[in-house]
Amino acid sequence: MSENVAIIGVGSTAVRAVTPEVSYRELTFEAAQRAYADADISHTEIQSAVCCEEDFFEGISIADEYTPDQLGVVLRSVETVTGDGLHGLAVAAMQIQTGIFDVVVVEAHSKASNILNFDHVIEYALDPIWNRPLGFHPEFVAGLEMNRFLKESGASVEDCDRVVAKNRTNALANPIAAYPARITAEDVAQSPDTFSPMRKMHQARRADGAVVLVLASEERARKASRPIWITGTGWANDTPTLESRPWGSDAATRAAAKMAFGEAGISDPDKEIDFFEVDDLYAYRELLTLASLGVKDGAGKINTSGGSIGMGHTLDTIGLYRVAMCVEALRNGSAGTALAHAWRGVPTTSAAVAILSNNHG
């Protein structure tokens, strides 16, 4: 990167299936207060904010209206990106690299529990002319991709069962995870078919939560107690159409990884990265993501937090929870270089990657 950027503060709420005691405002306020305390900054020092959200997840048109107050950034530069939090992280880092800001925050939250008919919202994302009139449950898209991926890769449904057992079990050690469970692959194999070959337990369950990150320029980060450096970011889209995508591979993640690895100077992720927090909205996606990242030996390094299957599917906050888990591992010494990855879910082909490290350059 042309100018080094660090994460100097992380704040998150616990991930929970429901959060009836708070609105999105108080939920985000909690994450922001934690982040600013972690960074040891006042809200007055923040020059800009990047928020990540979608109108129909919020139930608000032009939902960016309601972003500044709970971040303490009234009358400052605030923008909204309809992307995962990792897209927001990349945008915030670029803002700092332009030289106009020293301190920028990134925010995303999920009040998934407030959406009464989530499947209808996702249905509304299907192409209105070609796909939506067919009237299927929209997650057929994941079923198609899983089936094709298994065929091309040689991975099995049992491999996917094992991903679920691993991530749910990993979540037992994560105090902010919503869905920890002591289960085995055999338990997963018993769960009902949904979008065959997919089973119900292969799908991450939705949850509420908020994350705020404080990013700073190198000069400002040097004054912070525990900066974690963003050594590479990458993001990319494949075609939005169902008709023209490859189906058995994830071109968006491959392109995003290539960009991030290039920036971070990584040529062999197996050797150079020791901690991976990657997309697992569906169990097969963890396997597909690792293949797309070029990771061959992931034993003990993949989604030790529990991933989205163990922690919860927090809409566009997924990527920021991945980053929060990476930062924790880097700070406590259990990792030297970490990778966070997110995919935005069906029917999108939108992926982002960030490489984080205790050191830079």
Binding site: T19, P20, E21, V22, S23, Y24, R25, E26, F29, A32, Q33, Y36, S42, H43, F56, G59, P68, D69, Q70, G72, V74, K111, S113, N114, I115, L116, N117, H120, V121, E123, Y124, P128, I129, R132, P133
Partner: protein, 165 residues
């Protein structure tokens, strides 16, 4: 720079079936958690009174109430029961509904600065029981509530505002 696209269609193009189309009714339904501040606000509307929150640090009393002060960025300190009266900050006389249907009798939306809140702090609401031509910026108004048994914890429990008598 003569544009090549942006092909205009008339209603006849659609109605005659000349141009193919698809209609769809999305189901986008929510139950938004109110949280402590707006939850209490609604509950007090059911009780027939307006409440605000006060931040001791900046000494502001704000309505709609928030759990935290967005300027000091700290939890707000106390609830304040506001007056039943206020001042018209600005208003309109509107002849169409939200979906552009014509109204025979216009609505009078307004920002009402509520007495007891900090100066200039108001809420969006409606003015009624008045000749629209009589409404002025700066006019004093009072809240007119629905009967207690009809109130349900909604901003419409406050029926409207009318000139202070």
């Amino acid at each position: 720079m003569k544009p090549n696209f942006g092909t205009p269609l008339s209603s006849a193009d659609i109605e005659s079936g000349k141009v193919f189309s698809v209609s769809y009714e999305p189901r986008l339904e929510y139950a938004w958690d109110t949280g402590p501040a707006i939850g209490r606000y609604l509950q007090e509307l059911k009780n027939g009174r307006l409440v605000g929150r006060k931040c001791h640090k900046c000494d502001r009393t704000f309505i709609p109430p928030r759990h935290f002060c967005e300027l000091c960025f700290r939890p707000a300190d106390e609830w304040v029961v506001l007056e039943n009266t206020g001042t018209v900050n600005t208003f309109s006389i509107c002849y169409v509904t939200w979906d552009m249907k014509k109204l025979t009798y216009p609505q009078i939306p307004a920002v009402i600065e509520v007495d007891g809140a900090s100066e200039g702090y108001g809420i969006l609401h409606l003015i009624a029981d008045v000749d629209p031509n009589e409404v002025k910026v700066g006019m004093k108004v009072q809240a007119v509530w629905k009967p207690a048994e009809e109130r349900e914890g909604s901003i419409t429990d406050l029926k409207h505002w009318s000139p202070l008598k």
